[in-house]
Symmetry: C2
Subunit: 237 residues, 2 copies
């Protein structure tokens, strides 16, 4: 449990958070983004989500076909980008540029607010620097789990695993009935079946069918507002 | 380029590395593993690869079938594990336990040597602590790129992207002819087509066919000892 306590972002409110927000506003290092707007990032800078959610996406090199075809160095169509995860309020992110692979960040909600700074700015706040680095350590563990889920061969395992991971990290407590088992963790955003499909490498149709199967098996619950909920597991312990 | 310099492990020799090795041996926190031997890890501990390579693998929850079947909580068959990456000499790793998902580490070469310590042990070496955290920051960026590659729809893009990422991170300079373009970065271990298949979600047969295609297109080169090499890209610049 020690590591969970250390790594969970939920136990990690940034102590000097208000100080940082004030500093960023004072130095014009704060900006509000609309939903789906791209955050213009530069390698070497550190970004912090003050409010809302960031969606990370990746574009990679496409091997040209055997027959002579137009070279397609980098996919820029948003539909062709891969989903790499969300970053929530209080969390840092950074995007190192490594050709031929590129990473991008997009606002996932209206009024998503992002601060940025140079790494050396953190020298003023050594404790905060340590929190940021611990947050990356946590995110790294989450990415290992995410890779683990996406490496599963069966689509339904990838689907259930992705929902479970997102609920574990971002879920908000919810309840849809009186019974003890009618409680769980609800994803704080709506995800379309097409979006889920892109994330787990499946078609929208397949996602819809398998979401039905997971509901039938009681492994997920969909609330009236269509948000996805992972029911709490009741153990005999 | 700033971030590449900061993040590349190649520019990051551990200054106090010999000190740490001595400390670990003195405190019986060092052990040598055979190839494919599992490293017994505990959450909350920090591990450092002194020599050789570690392979990280993940096991996840399997959704039971619609028909009544035996529940399969966690896959333990190595063939069913997903490949999460390598950790080389000088690099740290840690594995937080998060049910129902588990992460494991295995020695990838003979005589792989691993040290371990508690995070608080690092309080004695604040500079080293910072290097370890920066190393996780770097690994996190690599995992984002890896996710980006694995999220590609076409198998050949996943195959080429994986090889390019591994060569970029672990490649050793090699040469197989006199010409300028007959140089490149060679993967330091042999990978079977079956292993590559598990990593990128393809069958062995598909990997073999597509490796042939990449060779024909000059995107990869296979050396006499069967190691895979990414040829240097000659630009007009």
């Amino acid at each position: 449990m020690e590591s969970n306590a250390t790594l969970s972002h939920k136990n990690r409110p940034f102590l000097t958070w208000q100080l940082i927000i004030d500093w960023a506003e004072e130095h014009y290092r704060s900006r509000i983004f609309n939903k789906d707007e791209r955050i213009p990032t530069r390698p070497g800078l550190l970004y912090l989500v003050q409010k809302g959610f960031i969606r990370l996406a990746g574009s990679t090199y496409t091997v040209p076909g055997k027959k002579k075809s137009k070279p397609k160095p980098v996919e820029t169509d948003p539909e062709e980008q891969t989903f790499l995860g969300f970053v929530g309020a209080g969390q840092p992110f950074e995007l190192a540029q490594t050709s031929p692979f590129t990473l991008q960040a997009y606002a996932y909600c209206e009024e998503t607010t992002v601060l940025w700074m140079y790494w050396q700015d953190l020298d003023n706040w050594p404790h905060f620097r340590r929190e940021v680095l611990d947050a990356f350590r946590y995110q790294h563990q989450r990415k290992l789990l995410w890779l683990s889920v996406l490496g599963q061969r069966r689509t339904i395992d990838r689907l259930y695993g992705s929902i479970a991971l997102l609920a574990e990290e971002f879920g908000e407590p919810c309840q849809w009935g009186e019974k003890l088992e009618q409680r769980g963790d609800r994803l704080p955003w709506l995800l379309t079946h097409a979006q889920i499909g892109i994330a787990i490498g499946a078609t929208r149709v397949t996602v819809t069918r398998m979401m039905g199967q997971l509901r039938q098996q009681g492994l997920i619950h969909v609330l009236d507002d269509n948000s996805i909920c992972l029911p709490i597991k009741l153990t005999s312990n």
